[in-house]
Symmetry: C7
């Protein structure tokens, strides 16, 4: 059996790496994770925001950004929405 990884451990390991964050409101962000707290509020750097509209996916650049943890639905470390796996 694989060794277990606690949720906050996964976030901690992602410090300094790219993460992809999807909010409950369906906004999506990628950026380098530079910090987080116990509520999984997250600080990202070199952020790109993705919006899916009826005309396709648009992106815009942001600097350091603080995301409210209770508005985050899921976190994918190491890649973004446009990377193939």
């Amino acid at each position: 059996m694989a060794s277990t990884i606690l949720p906050l451990e996964l976030v901690d390991r992602a410090i300094g790496s790219k993460v992809w964050v999807i909010m409950k409101t369906e906004r999506e962000f990628t950026g380098t994770l530079v910090g987080f707290d116990d509520y999984v509020n997250m600080v990202l750097e070199d952020v790109t925001e993705y919006e899916t509209t009826t005309e396709g996916r648009k992106s815009s650049k942001l600097g350091q950004t603080l995301l409210n943890g209770n508005n985050i639905a899921m976190i994918v470390p190491g890649r973004g929405p446009e990377d193939e796996q």
Copy 2:
């Protein structure tokens, strides 16, 4: 009468196995459960996300993914949305 199983006990037994997770927002995921915490935040590996659109069910592959426990509606261990029972 069957012996009882506590909710967190069910999640704990699923460590290392496939689980199917349905979010309150109707997003669905399957993957191997690699960890969870008391808030049932979950870490999955080899994740497939399923989206139901008007043209049918689409799937996309994700790596390790952290799902926010307070956004999870239900968890089905051992199978996915496309497995027959």
Copy 3:
């Protein structure tokens, strides 16, 4: 006057029996109750999910399922949506 029954007492008495659970999102489940905790997170076995669509009621089979207590609107022990009373 009838003797009183506390809510968690009602759930506890239903262990090993069929229950019908209606979620806040209007999803409905029946299954055998095998466990629950103080947040009324519930573990069901031999689960049937019911969806009401414009073409009528559809059902699908699930195995053991964990339902998030804060997403549950109501619980009816001893019967399902298709049983006559």
Copy 4:
């Protein structure tokens, strides 16, 4: 001035009597109150559920039912939606 009645006191006095419960989701129930707890989770007996559709009000019969207190918007002891006052 009338003597005051605390909210839980009103619920406690209704034990053994008919109550009408309206959920935040607009579902409505009447039944005999057989128990409740500090979160105003309620156990009803001989329950009728009322649904208001575009074709009028439909009702269906349920047995013992547990209603999640945080989904309850209001409680009217002693009568139902179809009783004249």
Copy 5:
């Protein structure tokens, strides 16, 4: 400067008087306040419920009613929606 009035003090002064309560779901009630608790759950007596539909405002009479405090958006003591100020 006017002397201050704490929120619960305003509610307490309204005991025995008419209050107008507007729920988060836009339902509106007037009635005589007979009790409340720390969560501002409220017991009203001689209640009128107001619904605003596309055909105008309809009202219906209820007896004693318990309103769930976390569903209340605002409280106006001493008058109702149809009183001129």
Copy 6:
């Protein structure tokens, strides 16, 4: 650098003055702030409620009003929606 002002300090300084309050449900109020508590439940006096409809902005007068703090999105001391800045 400007000296800092804590959120509750801003509210406390506004006692006796006009405030403009915008609820999460987009209802808007102005009035004289006469009190508040730690949950930023607020008591206003000489209240005007503003509703924005497809035909423009309508206003109506209320007396003392208690606003539920967890339903408040933002507070602007010293002015209202119709004041030029």
Copy 7:
């Protein structure tokens, strides 16, 4: 690896500077941050509110404004929605 920045540390460093705040309801604000508390309730000064309508983006000026932290989705220090990066 970059040194980490805790979420509240990011907010604290932004005191006296311009911040861009996006609410869960999609309202957007920029202003000078003059204070915040542990719930990330924020006090802004020289505030501009941005609304995105079908006719494009409109802005309006506000003075000191208190934003309810649990309604904030994200915070971007140092710039606004109209600044190029």
